[in-house]
Amino acid sequence: MPRPAVVLLALLLVVVPALLWLAGNPYAARLAQLVLLTVILAVALNLLTGTAGMLALDTVVYFGFGAYAAALLSLNYGTSFLVELVLAGAAAALAGWCVGVALVRLASIFFAVATMGLAISFHATVLNWGELTRGPMGVRGIPGFRIGEWNLEGWAGTYYVTALVCLACVWVAHRLTHSFYGNAVRAAREDEEVARALGLAPRRLKAQVYAVHAAMMAVAGVLYAHSNRFIGPDNFVLLESALVLTAVVVGGLGSVAGAALGAAILVLVPEALRGVGHLRGLAFGAILFASILLLPRGLLSEVRTLAWMRRALAAGGWGRAGRRR
């Protein structure tokens, strides 16, 4: 049996693009790219909310930060998206570290509300700081993906850029989750006192996870700005945070594969409902409610994924990750 990693690479880099090419439908390609973008967000939030157990509603802050950074840098200074990925990712990691150090002291519900406040403040800032963000008009005419003279603006280029970044993020999340580091973070989630007694620094671990999650969200934001070509304050409202949270809860808190699955469901189901009218928000709410009530562990629960992953690692199925411990 081939390694799961090989299957995943083949699926995302060969099978899906081939199907999209055969379908010849730009809408399907856009949808596939949107799924991959949401997978980045869900995997990042899953690190924070699932693995580290901090219920956050500030997805749009870092996502929006990345998107606005990309839009304004490329329009004002003509930077390449590669530079922006590095800059926005690093800046968000730094900001996330500072915010994280302060916020991880808050117990569950207070952390959730503080991040909700951050999300609403971010929206208000983007809306009102007109000189920088062009206010409610949004930023138009953002260039597509380009490396020097190499034009990646078509659907295939956009798809491959997103797929490669997405794979990189999933790989990082996988290595952080399925490792001793992941065990330490899970210990900090379950009981800070016990973790401290074991010689871990639970708050530092949580702040680190917060910083990593912020960087991933900002990276997704850069990709979003360049693929959507337009961003406005309405792209970064609290409901979008709730969307990503729903994806993580539906997929299974703490499970990387679950987060990816949840993201795919949460993008594709409302698309299927698009004909019925303006039901997107209602669908998210209903899915979240049904999921927390009927499937509180999600579709792929953390325990099952971890057990599966442990077997795969023991069998050496994940290559170096398995043998090196």
Binding site: S108, M116, L239
Partner: protein, 301 residues
């Protein structure tokens, strides 16, 4: 002090009173269940919409709108408890009732219920700002010495004070109120003396939601318009008031609510009004970080 600043203070205090009334719904629920009802803002919105429907569609007189709003609030509170909180209360002991898993599950379920309610209203009313009919509005100017306010702001202040007094009477003088205080003080002890926890929880949700709905009603009458997202910012400020007031203290929540309202309107003197939204969050973050037990209780967490 000149009249302008006094005016701002009066407006801030009246807005703050609505935060206080909404915050009390939060605080009551937190005291009994240590859980937060994220659908509370939608109760406020529902109260405002009930006012709109009573006034614009059925053309009821104002005194008849009040029972409609009260009924809407009580029904909404009962529904939220039934749908988002009861399914997670599987065991009756204190450890599992107040466990982290239950708290986070109910946080998510009430958040989801809130989203469903908000989006359903948004679809039903097309997301527009809807006007309350002119003759119901409370916007006659009133002069109090150097201060000129509108009658709506006076009514908000007066109604909030009356509601707080009524609540205090209910908690102190009625059987239900005593049961609520008993459960809040000692859950196991209350159960042992024969108090039905489920009934008390329903009562708490109903009372808190009636207060929230009435706050939505007076605000919609004072400012004249209603929209499906109007509860969102109020509920967060009410939550901030609860935290600043020390989580379980009703007087603390009221004082903190007024403080936030006044701080916002004073900030409005110095910065553009769009930015005053942020005042509450700044207050929240500072309180959480430096005074985690609330402004009115000193010491560590």
């Amino acid at each position: 002090m000149d009249a302008f600043i006094l005016n701002q203070l009066a407006i801030g205090a009246s807005v703050g009173m609505t935060y206080a009334v909404v915050a009390i719904g939060f605080t009551l629920i937190y005291r009994v269940l240590t859980a937060v009802n994220f659908a509370h803002g939608e109760v406020y919105t529902l109260g405002a919409f009930a006012t709109l429907i009573g006034a614009a569609t059925f053309k009821l007189p104002l005194w008849a709108v009040v029972p409609l709003v009260v009924a809407t609030g009580a029904l909404a509170g009962w529904g939220i408890e039934r749908a988002a909180f009861r399914p997670f209360r599987r065991y009756a002991d204190e450890a599992s009732l107040k466990s982290r898993a239950v708290r986070e599950a109910t946080l998510l379920s009430s958040l989801a219920l809130g989203i469903v309610a908000r989006e359903a209203l948004d679809i039903a009313f097309k997301g527009e700002w809807l006007a309350i009919p002119q003759d119901y509005l409370l916007n006659q100017p009133v002069r109090l010495g150097p201060v000129g306010v509108s009658s709506g702001e006076l009514v908000i202040g007066g109604a909030s004070l009356a509601l707080l007094a009524a609540l205090q009477w209910m908690l102190m003088r009625t059987r239900t109120g005593v049961a609520i205080r008993a459960v809040a003080a000692n859950l196991v002890g209350a159960q042992l003396s024969g108090i039905d926890i489920n009934r008390v929880v329903v009562a708490v949700f109903a009372v808190g939601s009636v207060l929230g709905a009435l706050a939505g009603m007076v605000v919609s009458l004072a400012y004249g318009s209603v929209q499906s997202y109007m509860g969102l910012t109020v509920v967060i400020k009410a939550f901030v008031a609860m935290v600043i007031g020390g989580l379980t203290s009703l007087p603390g929540a009221v004082a903190a609510g007024v403080l936030i309202g006044v701080a916002e309107s004073v900030a409005g003197i110095f910065v553009p009004s769009a930015w005053t939204e942020m005042v509450a969050y700044v207050l929240l973050i500072f309180t959480l970080l430096f005074m985690p037990r609330g402004l009115f209780r000193w010491g560590g967490a």
